[in-house]
């Protein structure tokens, strides 16, 4: 079955620490990839997306993600987190042919001052 897996359920970091959140998917075809963020009390917002081209994509607020096709992965990174990055992060994937947008279970990131 098609699925999206996020490796960490809850991550706790200190300010200025580096962040990497894992995402793997099990789709066999061509995919579009997304990372969404949900800040406390707010709706889901797009952080970044990958459709084609350079596998290293940059998003808002200093986030970036790397698509590694051979590993079916799309990991999210940020070199230095801030307290305001405390949020829940969701990886999402849709198949080019099917277009069904599926989400991972999410990773809650808590940044301590």
């Amino acid at each position: 079955a098609q699925s999206v897996s996020q490796h960490n359920h809850h991550v706790i970091l200190s300010e200025a620490a580096s962040l990497e959140l894992g995402c793997n998917y099990s789709y066999g075809g061509t995919v579009n990839l997304f990372w969404y963020v949900q800040y406390p009390g707010q709706h889901l917002q797009l952080l970044l997306k990958y459709f084609s081209g350079d596998p290293l994509v940059k998003g808002i607020k200093g986030f970036e993600a790397e698509f590694i096709k051979s590993k079916f992965s799309f990991n999210l990174r940020k070199p230095s987190v801030q307290w305001s990055d405390t949020a829940e992060y969701f990886c999402a994937v849709n198949l080019i042919n099917g277009y069904k947008l599926s989400f991972g279970a999410g990773t809650t990131e808590t940044v301590r001052a």
Partner: protein, 113 residues
């Protein structure tokens, strides 16, 4: 630009009652999604519309859930009768076309008691 509008924001009902949620997508967006997000889990796609046609409803519990998108704009999601396990946040999202970035509303938090 106006975002995706959802109402109500909160709803508390007793089990076996019925409830309806409303969504107004971003103007011009052809694709509309309804997701169910249970606490601690990622959003689960219930139904996806392309204009007023259903693209995917494979995870919609059709014995109790129904959704429509008349005229390809607004959409309603109904639950009848509700069960305790339906307690969740119901998210509506829209995108310009299938496979492109989805924009989310604030969601409706449903509590079934």
């Amino acid at each position: 630009e106006a975002g995706v509008a959802q109402s109500p924001r909160y709803k508390i009902i007793e089990k076996r009652q019925s409830v309806a949620f409303w969504c107004n997508p971003i103007s011009g967006h052809a694709t509309l999604y309804w997701y169910q997000q249970i606490l601690g889990q990622g959003p689960k796609l219930l139904i996806q519309f392309q204009n007023n046609g259903v693209v995917d409803d494979s995870q919609l519990p059709k014995d109790r859930f129904s959704a429509e998108r008349l005229k390809g704009v607004d959409s309603t999601l109904k639950i009848q009768p509700a069960k305790l396990e339906d307690s969740a946040v119901y998210l509506c999202a829209s995108s310009f076309a299938q496979g492109t970035e989805a924009f989310f509303g604030q969601g409706t938090r449903l509590t079934v008691v």
